[in-house]
Subunit: 104 residues, 2 copies
């Protein structure tokens, strides 16, 4: 997979969530879709989703528990996981995550 | 000034410096120049420069001392400052900085 996105627009202003535990920048594509590129520092957080998401991990390690599930699944750099829309997931970041989040 | 960069490439992988106190993403322009978009969390750091830089602050507040200077100067969101090439600067971030760094 390519290491960069080409012919895109990027929003200058960063998205800072959870008191800085999550930082991302938004990338806009010509087809109207968007992605965020970001980092999550070691923490235990809950993210809510609007659109369905695919979280692609460039680096790091985390445990994920989707809403309504009992079990945690571990993911690390090179892997990705899907999250349904209008839902949420708990994420325990064990090693700083470098990620790209794909929406829709 | 525009709130976004258009027709650019962005590197997916984040740049993480100083144990996460500074996080940025690299933006590549068609003319061969690059910029980084990032965040610096409250901290006292020293950055070395290769190319000359212009630090454009979207938000936050910091004090800067260029190499060889005695005095500190305060900058905040909406302002920018220049740093010579092959030099360094001390930066005390008082409120989380959201910045764009222009090189060359």
């Amino acid at each position: 997979m390519s290491t960069q996105f080409d012919q895109v627009s990027v929003i200058k202003k960063a998205n800072i969530y959870f008191d800085g535990k999550c930082v991302s920048h938004t990338v806009l594509f010509a087809d109207g879709t968007k992605k965020t590129m970001g980092v999550i520092f070691p923490s235990s957080l809950t993210f809510n989703t609007g659109a369905p998401e695919v979280m692609e991990l460039n680096a790091g390690k985390c445990r994920i528990r989707l809403k309504g599930e009992e079990n945690w699944t571990t993911y690390e750099g090179g892997q990705s996981f899907d999250v349904p829309g209008n839902s949420s997931f708990d994420i325990e970041t064990l090693e700083t995550l470098d990620y790209v989040c794909h929406f829709g």
